[in-house]
Symmetry: C2
């Protein structure tokens, strides 16, 4: 598993410094074991500033997730239309790499936080998170149609299906011994896309 | 959402009585709010018997999940080969019905428990749970091939893909506002199966 790595810009505000420190601490310790003291280890200023900005750990982590998502969105939007075929395959493989083999604490944490069904805060965040990835997949498919690389197709429906399948792989990979099934799912997903997008010469030299 | 309904046989042992009471209490209250007192409300004998049999709530709930899975396995195995086409579609629709619309507390509970990444107990349970559903899907596909209803295909890979996709739908449906995406995923999944299984006249009159 490669895990999730994010290259943040230099923090410009104290909030950004706190959120990058939270991201680092979450990546190492997960949510359950996260404490303000552990975040403080990644933070150059006084940890008491964190209490000043956030009511509790949940509010801080939720803002950290929003910050990560904003970062993903910016990165995804700037890379999606160079080569639609490659962009689609890269998105699939990055996700599947992140849920195969040994669990990464940050991926585990995201899967666990998403499943917290008490209250609307995480529900709303993950609804927005899905819509960001849905928009990325849709615009990649539409770029491919515009370029003549993909056949005309229902980009919205196909994007939703890819996202549901990848989310299932992520959830299964973190919560069960599912490497063989994830590998099988990848082959079938790529085959399904070849058919739907009319990629006659094979989408992927790896299958 | 229809939720999960199980018709249990009359309990034959005190353990079965406790587990059915636990199932009912979980269905109503979810995991976080579950107490021995609430299980006691569904149980005709003294709740103190529960402490005698189980170290803690987690051990009791885990045994309840195993009991539910045994029940599912028995029910699935006796219904899988009557009409493979109908059995496959019914499995897909029952799962998707259980994760669309208003959340059912038991479905929420299963999604949340699966995401508990502290320790091996739930990981092992959900690995076994997936293998039960994988075996059901595989035997349904093989029955269809044997009957000449489905073209020859890689039943193992297709079953794994269906299971990953449905698990993704379940997880998304409980944890985000995903009804439209789940509906889109259903259409595409059925279309994928029509192609892979050679069902030329359309798998499903609903799409």
């Amino acid at each position: 598993m490669s895990g999730i790595s994010l290259e943040f810009h230099e923090p410009e505000t104290t909030r950004e410094e706190m959120l990058i420190a939270t991201f680092k601490a979450l990546s190492t310790h997960g949510y359950a074991d996260l404490t303000i003291a552990k975040i403080g280890d990644e933070f150059d200023k006084s940890p008491s500033l964190i209490y000043h900005h956030y009511d509790d750990k949940e509010a801080l982590v939720l803002d950290c997730l929003e910050f990560m998502l904003d970062h993903f969105e910016t990165t995804l939007l700037t890379t999606c239309t160079d080569d639609p075929r490659d962009a689609l395959l890269r998105f699939i493989d990055r996700t599947l790499d992140a849920c195969s083999g040994e669990p990464d604490p940050l991926v585990e944490t995201l899967v666990e936080l998403r499943a917290r069904t008490n209250g609307d805060a995480f529900y709303d965040h993950f609804t927005r998170s899905d819509s960001v990835f849905q928009a990325h997949l849709e615009s990649t498919l539409r770029a491919g149609i515009d370029d003549g690389v993909f056949e005309n197709c229902d980009a919205e429906r196909i994007a939703a299906t890819v996202l549901t399948t990848l989310t299932g792989a992520l959830y299964r990979g973190v919560t069960s011994d599912a490497d063989a099934d994830i590998s099988a799912t990848r082959s079938e997903l790529v085959g399904y896309l070849e058919g739907r997008l009319g990629v006659d010469d094979g989408f992927d030299s790896r299958t």
